[in-house]
């Protein structure tokens, strides 16, 4: 068991000279940036004001979180952005302070955030920087449980899966008070590595911004399984670059809740030949809920023999529901087969009538149709830990199904 994190006093960036200089540059860059607005294409459907609500600014936690419940298998707890307890055999966990200079230099280069306000802010203000390394195949997924309750909370995870290794991580989020979690996970998959990544956000009812940046080496595979629900605001981002013959399968469900807004942004880049992407995202939007998905698949000139598909579907369940989708293809190579599809609609009246006419009560009939709508994505959820959470949220609450 790795107990290095049972008490973690020194998180965030260790102040070696090179890191300090880099950090200062980032702080300067942050000072020159402003939060994105709807004029920015990747933020045009975002309801960001929730993140900057005054009650979130500079407030400290004035109540204790419940004691971490020991989970089955392997796990880490993050409270207010800092790891507070962990249990794992397969993964090696190291805070930034314990990394050698070569590893730090490598990651500083990998973490270049560009001009993205939230990425830069996360790097500048990170509560904790933790490197997770997997050298071999891990049978049980590593469960990462985040709890936030006050102010701005900004964990930063670095994940390295060695060539040929296989593993899974499942991130879950829970909020306990007015707060904005601006977290980031950087996944680095070596040649032939495989990672299944679950992201479950249904208990994060405050503002949540979560960015996943993944770099897939040759023949690496990343399988994302995400279930997003909130009564607050959440933004989930995936920025994935695929190496030669790498594969991305990204499956997600937005399970809207009244007054909640979920905003998903996908940037997928094929920079080498033979890579494959398969995205399928489905959203259920009840009254007064909002769901947006912006997805861009970019095929660079070197990305020949690409196979890429993106399917984004939404069901609007009641008046006051709103959905926006923007599935983009940007293609600079000719030997490709790329496609995308999107639908926005309602439950099929005829199907509903068919079921009701066979004696199935309307509420049940609606639920059956909703289950059928979600089934193609749910079938791709293989992680028991994700499915357990998903089934705890389904069927829909009555107000959403009505």
């Amino acid at each position: 068991m790795n107990t290095a994190l049972a008490v973690c006093h020194r998180c965030g960036w260790a102040e070696d000279a090179a890191t300090r200089a880099w950090h200062e540059q980032l702080a300067e860059r942050l000072a020159s940036l402003t939060p994105p607005s709807r004029k920015d294409e990747f933020w045009r459907y975002s309801r960001l004001s929730a993140c900057f609500a005054p009650e979130r600014a500079g407030r400290g936690l004035d109540f204790p979180f419940p004691s971490p419940e020991p989970l089955a298998g392997e796990w880490i707890y993050f409270d207010q952005g800092r790891p507070v307890a962990a249990h794992t055999r397969a993964w090696r966990l190291r805070p930034w302070s314990e990394l050698d200079e070569a590893t730090r230099a490598r990651w500083r280069e990998r973490l270049e955030p560009g001009e993205d306000y939230f990425s830069v802010r996360n790097l500048v203000e990170a509560d904790a920087v933790l490197l997770l390394e997997l050298e071999e195949t891990a049978d049980a997924p590593l469960q990462i449980h985040y709890r936030h309750g006050a102010g701005w909370v900004q964990p930063l995870l670095l994940v390295e899966v060695a060539a040929g290794a296989r593993g899974a991580i499942v991130e879950t989020f829970a909020s306990f008070g007015p707060s904005t979690q601006n977290g980031a996970v950087n996944l680095w998959l070596g040649e032939g590595a495989e990672l299944t990544h679950g992201v479950f956000t249904a208990k994060a009812q405050e503002a949540l911004l979560h960015r996943v940046r993944a770099r897939l080496g040759a023949r690496a595979r990343l399988d994302v399984q995400s279930f997003a629900a909130t009564r607050g605001y959440q933004r989930l981002e995936w920025d994935v670059a695929l190496g030669e013959s790498a594969a991305l399968r990204l499956s997600g469900i937005t399970h809207g809740e009244p007054d909640g807004s979920t905003d998903v942004a996908l940037r997928i880049r094929h920079a080498a030949p033979g890579a494959a992407t398969d995205v399928r995202w489905r959203g259920l939007v009840p009254a007064e809920a909002h769901s947006a998905v912006i997805g861009r698949i970019l095929i660079e000139p070197a990305g020949q023999r690409t196979d890429a598909a993106m399917r984004l579907d939404h069901l609007l369940l009641a008046d006051g529901a709103a959905a926006d989708v923007k599935p983009e293809l940007e293609i600079y190579a000719d030997d490709v087969a790329c496609g995308h599809g999107a639908t926005l609609g309602r439950l099929d009246d005829e199907a509903l009538f068919y079921l009701c006419s066979r004696g199935i009560p309307e509420v049940e009939a609606r639920q059956l149709l909703i289950d059928a709508f979600l089934a193609p994505v749910l079938q791709r959820f293989t992680l028991a830990e994700v499915l357990r959470h998903v089934h705890s949220r389904l069927p829909l609450p009555d107000d959403a199904a009505a």
Binding site: E41, V285, P301, Q304, H314, L316, L317, A318, D319, A321, A322, A323, D324, V325, K326, P327, E328, L329, E330, I331, Y332, A333, D334, D335, V336, A337, C338, G339, H340, G341, A342, T343, L344, G345, R346
Partner: protein, 475 residues
């Protein structure tokens, strides 16, 4: 097929690239309020229009040129452009034979006896309309078809009522510029219940160097009427870029139908991207009444840069919007084109079929918006946008925006991108069809859905245009 063979095959001559040597009255380059006053005075416009232009100009001065489109170009020197150029007339009635020759050379039926006599033509040369055919026959049916400068004189109430009602002067940077300096264009009014007896057509020609063309087209289809309108355009080959910033406004009242077809063949520039027309156009239709229908069909093969989104605002209940487009880019051409369908009324329907073909070093983007507003119960949209890539150096992109605020609406969108399939080519060649013909056949099949929507004469022309553009694309 090798890249070299492909590039060579795609550098076909631009047949409409000649210059007409004609005496022209031009303003010196530059734009200020005096230029606008001059244009307005030249056309003897009423005070409301003069003021409208000046307001638009003042608005334009406060606006910034947008750069969000997926196109790259050198900054435009707006003070280096000529805003008014018109061929000198010998008399009020006589038209310079060189002008007629020009249009005949371009295959435009400017003589009423011509083979394509089923089409009435308004010919716009640089900044002015030089002739309009079949006016008498049309007026018998009560149809008004004339240059907009003439409509301002004869039907000022109609112009004042509808001008800027769909594309307001401050709508966007280029619409504001057009509103300030537009010099001519077509005006069409179809009275209640009238089915226009002829296809109407406007042919736009830029001739004078350093000239921008800013025409304005306004079509009003009154209740229960029908009109089919065709538009064509060409320009000479020059090393400089020329700006074409037009505005087209369509208004379809209750039960009326407007079909608007464009075959755009502006000079696309040479293989290195020198010269060519910047085609920055605002086209928008309003289905104002119940059951109105507006259908845009476009075949875009020309222009160095095409940046336009013919749109429909579906305000009337049960109204219908359609957009069928083929956009072919080759050489260094760039296109960012598509449509917007704004559903406001109940049971409104829209269909979008877009085919993009990219060859050479060109960039071809579809950008479209489908918006369902809260009141648009029962609305339906179907969108299909497909891209075909020919050669390894081009790009094909799709940027659809889909927004719904009504749970009783259905929106479906699908898109695909691929290259001309080896299997299809093999199939054709196996049956003795030479490779060049096979590509033409495959591309023709790819575009068939759109060509079927064009009026017959245009469908033939569009098909030929595409064949010429792609001739020899397989070695």
């Amino acid at each position: 097929m090798s890249t070299t063979e492909l590039d060579a095959a795609l550098s076909q001559a631009y047949e409409a690239g000649f210059v007409t040597d004609i005496e022209t009255e031009t303003l010196p380059p530059g734009l200020d309020e005096q230029v606008i006053e001059y244009i307005s005075a030249k056309k003897n416009e009423p005070e409301f229009l003069r003021q409208w232009r000046l307001d638009a100009f003042r608005r334009w001065q406060t606006m910034k040129e947008p750069h969000w489109a997926h196109v790259r170009y050198e900054p435009i020197d707006y003070q280096g452009l000529i805003y008014y150029a018109a061929p000198k007339r010998r008399s009020e009635t006589e038209i310079d034979p060189k002008l007629l020759e020009t249009y005949e050379k371009l295959g435009v039926p400017v003589h009423e006896r011509a083979a394509l006599a089923g089409v009435a033509v308004d010919a716009v040369f640089d900044s002015v309309s030089v002739l309009t055919t079949f006016k008498d026959k049309l007026s018998e049916a009560g149809v008004i078809f004339c240059p907009i400068s003439e409509a301002v004189q004869k039907y000022p109430e109609l112009v004042q009522k509808y001008l800027g009602s769909v594309v307001p002067p401050g709508d966007n940077f280029f619409a504001a510029l057009n509103s300030a300096v537009f010099s001519d264009g077509s005006f069409v009014y179809i009275p209640k219940g009238v089915r226009c007896p002829l296809e109407l057509s406007t042919y736009f020609r830029i001739n004078t160097a350093r000239t921008g063309q800013f025409e304005r087209t306004l079509i009003i289809a009154d209740e229960g009427s029908y009109v089919s309108y065709l538009e064509g355009c060409t320009a000479p080959m020059r090393d400089e870029h020329q700006l074409h910033a037009a505005v087209v406004e369509l208004i379809a009242l209750e039960g009326a139908e407007i079909r608007y077809s464009t075959v755009q063949n502006w000079y696309p520039g040479d293989e290195e991207g020198r010269g060519g027309v910047y085609n920055f156009v605002t086209k928008r239709g309003l289905c104002a009444g119940r059951g109105a229908k507006i259908s845009w069909t476009q075949v875009e093969t020309g222009s160095a840069i095409t940046w336009k989104y013919p749109s429909v605002i579906l305000k009337g209940d049960d109204s219908v919007g359609e957009f069928y487009s083929v956009a072919l880019t080759r050489g260094r051409q760039q296109a960012d084109t598509g449509t917007k369908m704004i559903h406001l009324g109940r049971n409104t329907r829209s269909t979008i079929v877009s085919k993009g073909i990219a060859a050479g070093h060109s960039q071809n983007a579809y950008r479209g918006l489908v918006r369902i507003n809260p009141g648009a119960s029962g609305a339906r949209n179907y969108t299909q946008c497909d891209s075909l890539l020919i050669g390894p150096h081009c790009g094909a992109h799709t940027f659809p925006y889909i927004e719904s605020r009504n749970p009783r609406a259905i929106v479906e969108h699908e898109a695909s991108t691929s290259r001309v399939s080896e299997e299809q080519l093999f199939y054709c060649r196996q049956r003795g069809i030479d490779p060049e013909r096979a590509v033409a056949l495959i591309v023709g099949g790819f575009c068939k859905d759109v060509f079927q929507k064009l009026p017959l004469e245009f469908a033939v022309e569009a098909g030929k245009l595409l064949e010429v553009s792609l001739e020899g694309s397989v070695g």
